[in-house]
């Protein structure tokens, strides 16, 4: 099944409100993120935290080739979950969940940044276009 999970701040005045804007228009928003879930898993539980990511090559062990280098738990903790299930069978997503989040940062010493693994490249990276994938592969520098 397909599920769109929309994460929203439960308080539009929570810290950082000045920079929570929709681009390119700049309108203020309480949207924090969205997940496209095809795992058939459960909806997010109260207490689930959104992850946050950063790009910091200087602190990375691997070459991430412009991808994110680190992740940790974000300050946003799910406090309430509303679920809306499609009723026609024609919806783009079977299920839409709105997860309201409270701003509850963890102490820095309990929430270190952890380096992520470098990204994978496959034919699916090119939408299944095997020729494009092979062309990309042929341009990669092989290091020994």
């Amino acid at each position: 099944m397909s599920r769109l999970i929309i994460f929203k701040a439960d308080d539009s005045s929570a810290p950082g409100w000045e920079t929570r804007t929709l681009q390119p228009g700049g309108s203020l928003t309480d949207l924090l993120g969205q997940h496209f879930d095809y795992s058939n898993g459960p909806v997010p539980e109260v207490g689930y935290r959104l992850p946050e990511f950063k790009h910091d090559d200087a602190a990375a062990t691997f070459d991430h080739r412009g991808g994110v280098t680190h992740q940790r738990l974000s300050p946003w903790r799910v406090s309430r979950v509303d679920e809306y299930v499609g009723n026609t069978g024609q919806e783009a997503m079977d299920d839409v969940v709105i997860a309201y989040c409270a701003y509850a940062p963890l102490p820095e010493d309990q929430n270190p940044w952890v380096e992520t693994a470098p990204a994978i490249v496959s034919p699916d990276s090119f939408g299944g276009d095997m020729a494009a994938y092979e062309a990309w592969k042929s341009r990669q520098v092989v290091t020994v």
């Binding site: 693994a117 990309w136 990669q140």
Partner: protein, 69 residues
């Protein structure tokens, strides 16, 4: 273990965000974020970040330790 302690993610580069969503639907993954790849020197300008260990049943090719410069 609760969901709040599940930190693991897997990244895949892609040519656009649509490819991220297609991968999620094809393999039953959860797409957490699609981000613009910084200073991409090839068509793979988007990074798809999936929840957990989003590996293929049989990995076609993994350039995770490679260098595309």
């Amino acid at each position: 273990m609760t969901q709040s302690s599940d930190r693991s993610t897997t990244s895949h580069f892609a040519i656009n965000e649509d490819c991220c969503r297609k991968m999620a639907a094809k393999y039953g993954w959860t797409l957490l974020e699609a981000r613009r790849r910084i200073a991409a020197r090839d068509p793979l300008v988007v990074e798809c970040i999936f929840k957990g260990d989003a590996q293929f049943p049989k990995s076609p090719m993994d350039f995770s330790g490679g260098n595309d410069q």
